[in-house]
């Protein structure tokens, strides 16, 4: 089981769904949520200074309403300014290949398509999670 997961998404309902799915699939029992990339950046800045309670995994939405920058920019900041060392990727309803390539280029490790059938994708991701931690897994899109 993953110690804790950070979810950055502007949608309340998705927080509930994600929390329940993670609990049912025993992926994690501790889910931390943010509604904007700015809020998430604050957290990463704090974790950069003190790594206590830093989650080993983060799911970032692509377009986060109410944020000054998008999910790809947040991943870029985390990987280049705030210490990296976290399994981080995008969770989005978009399957835009250009955006996927952009995410890959800034160091996103996965892309999960957010839709009704989320459970099997998260299950598959969970199986691959140790490989992401070992950095032996290539960038993967879970469709």
């Amino acid at each position: 089981m993953i110690n804790s997961i950070l979810l950055v998404d502007d949608e309340d309902l998705f927080h509930i769904v994600f929390d329940d799915v993670c609990s049912l699939l025993n992926i994690t029992l501790s889910l931390e949520t943010c509604y904007s990339s700015d809020e998430a950046e604050e957290k990463f800045i704090n974790w950069y200074a003190n790594e206590n309670n830093k989650p080993p995994c983060a799911f970032i939405d692509l377009n986060i309403i109410g944020s000054s920058f998008d999910g790809i920019e947040l991943i870029k900041k985390v990987n280049t300014q705030y210490g990296n060392n976290i399994v981080i990727g995008i969770i989005s309803s978009s399957v835009d290949s250009i955006e996927i390539e952009k995410a890959k280029s800034v160091g996103a490790m996965f892309w999960i398509v957010k839709s009704d059938n989320l459970e099997p994708r998260l299950e598959k991701f969970y199986q691959d999670f140790p490989k992401y931690q070992n950095k032996t897994k290539e960038f993967t899109v879970y469709k």
Binding site: E11, L13, F14, V17, D20, S23, L24, N26, L29, D116
Partner: protein, 189 residues
Amino acid sequence: MKLSTDSENLLIEISVQKKIYLEGNLLKILDTDNENFRTYLNKSIELDDENRKKRITLSKQIQDRNIELELKQSQLEQKQNENNKLLEDLNNALFLAEKAKLEALNEVSVLQTKNQFELIGTIVKIALCVIVGVGIIVTSMYVFAMSKDSTETTLIGNTWSNLFGILLTNSFSIIGTIMGVKYATEQEK
């Protein structure tokens, strides 16, 4: 993580009396050696999972409805935009039609003015021809009378003088009228 026997028994008692069970992820980290509490924990986890499944289904339904609503709203906005565009096109067409109407009216007015000027020109030419003609005829008669040393020379001379005065006055009057009309028309333009 294990609870004390008293706590375990208390939780079991609450579940029997009030049908209330522990909920949440805490259940997944609790452990016990007590067989009854193990059963209680399994039952609680089962109920918690059921609740989560219901919540997921409900949340997904709400998400789907939200997406549907957003789609409908987007379609409505699109239709609204189309209507606005149609209205704008209609207004433009109306404006163009109004402009064309004004231009047509203006052209008609110009045509009318042109016709009026042509008519005035014709009248003036005829009037001048008549004046010049009368002048020439009377002058010829006067010259003829003087050359023949006619007894009517004095009468014709007076007539010529009067007629010439009247013709000159009328000529200047006509010219004055034409200049006045022309000046007034140019002022209006």
